[in-house]
Amino acid sequence: MIETFINITLFAMQVLTALFIVRSKRLFSVVMLSGVFSLLTALFFVALDAVDVAFTEAAVGAGISTVLMLGTIALTARTQKKTAPTGYLPYLVVAVTGAALVYGTLDMPSFGDPMAPAHQHVAPEYLARSVTDIDVPNVVTAILASYRGYDTLGETAVVFTAGIGVLMLLSGLRRRRDEDDVKIVKNKAAKAKDRA
């Protein structure tokens, strides 16, 4: 009962945040709101008992990507450009896609159903063995960090490489812009000398 209430409230707040993100024209506010959206997602994962996934979501979504977006704003523009009104076609497409997705979920087993096929395949094996195999109390942690340890290591390497790439791109851009500034200043000084 209380879990359902918490889940529904978290979902409602996510929808509210998404609406704010769509409505807001100031990009800085959009970045902050997307950080909050990611924090809400992390809370939802914690409510579902997947604390590792929640922690990744909080660190990447609310931490790193907020800062990256801020860097992008500093290099580009602070407010959204006005776009021409698009008519009703996009709303229609969104509504039809949403209805198709909802229709698709009707066949699925209900939330938390222990007889669902996904919970009958290898999950009982993990539940039975992870305590004696790995001695980690949380099964999700045991699967993520031990049974799929190499997979997680590969993911970490990919994310790390991507982070290094983005940081190098951003610092390169900044240096080039600084050089341009220096050139502009020098040109101005030369022109002032010519006039004198």
């Binding site: 209380i2 918490i6 409230t9 707040m13 509210l16 945040t17 704010f20 409505r23 807001s24 800085f28 506010s29 902050m32 709101l33 950080g35 909050v36 924090l39 992390a42 809370l43 914690v46 409510a47 604390v51 929640a54 922690f55 909080a58 660190a59 609310a62 931490g63 907020t66 800062v67 801020l70 860097g71 704003i73 500093a74 602070r78 940081l167 610092s171 900044r174 600084d178």
Partner: protein, 97 residues
């Protein structure tokens, strides 16, 4: 008891969200995000007690760390327009964003 605390947290989250959306200045928004992070930490703690497993408190402390570092990163970014090499940056550029 814990349910009442959870509902109070939800209400304050709504208030902080409203401030984040409406907040006229940059510092309102930064402070709102920071408060939302704090509310997240509190909510994780409450969630642990609601489920009868207070060992979630460790995770809540980790979130507090991320929140602190993130806020510092945002503010440092506004001050210097850069995160890494601040020695090249003029220090008086940060108020323009």
């Amino acid at each position: 008891m814990f349910i009442a605390a959870a509902i109070a947290l939800f209400i304050s989250m709504m208030l902080v969200l409203a401030r984040l959306y409406a907040g006229p200045t940059l510092y309102d928004r930064v402070l709102a995000v920071n408060s939302f992070g704090t509310l997240t930490v509190l909510f994780i703690a409450i969630l642990g007690f609601l489920n009868g497993r207070p060992d979630f408190l460790d995770i809540a402390i980790l979130y507090a760390l991320i929140n602190f570092v993130g806020t510092i990163a945002i503010l440092k970014f506004f001050r210097y327009r850069s995160l890494g090499d601040i020695s090249q940056m003029p220090p008086d550029e940060g108020d323009t964003l």
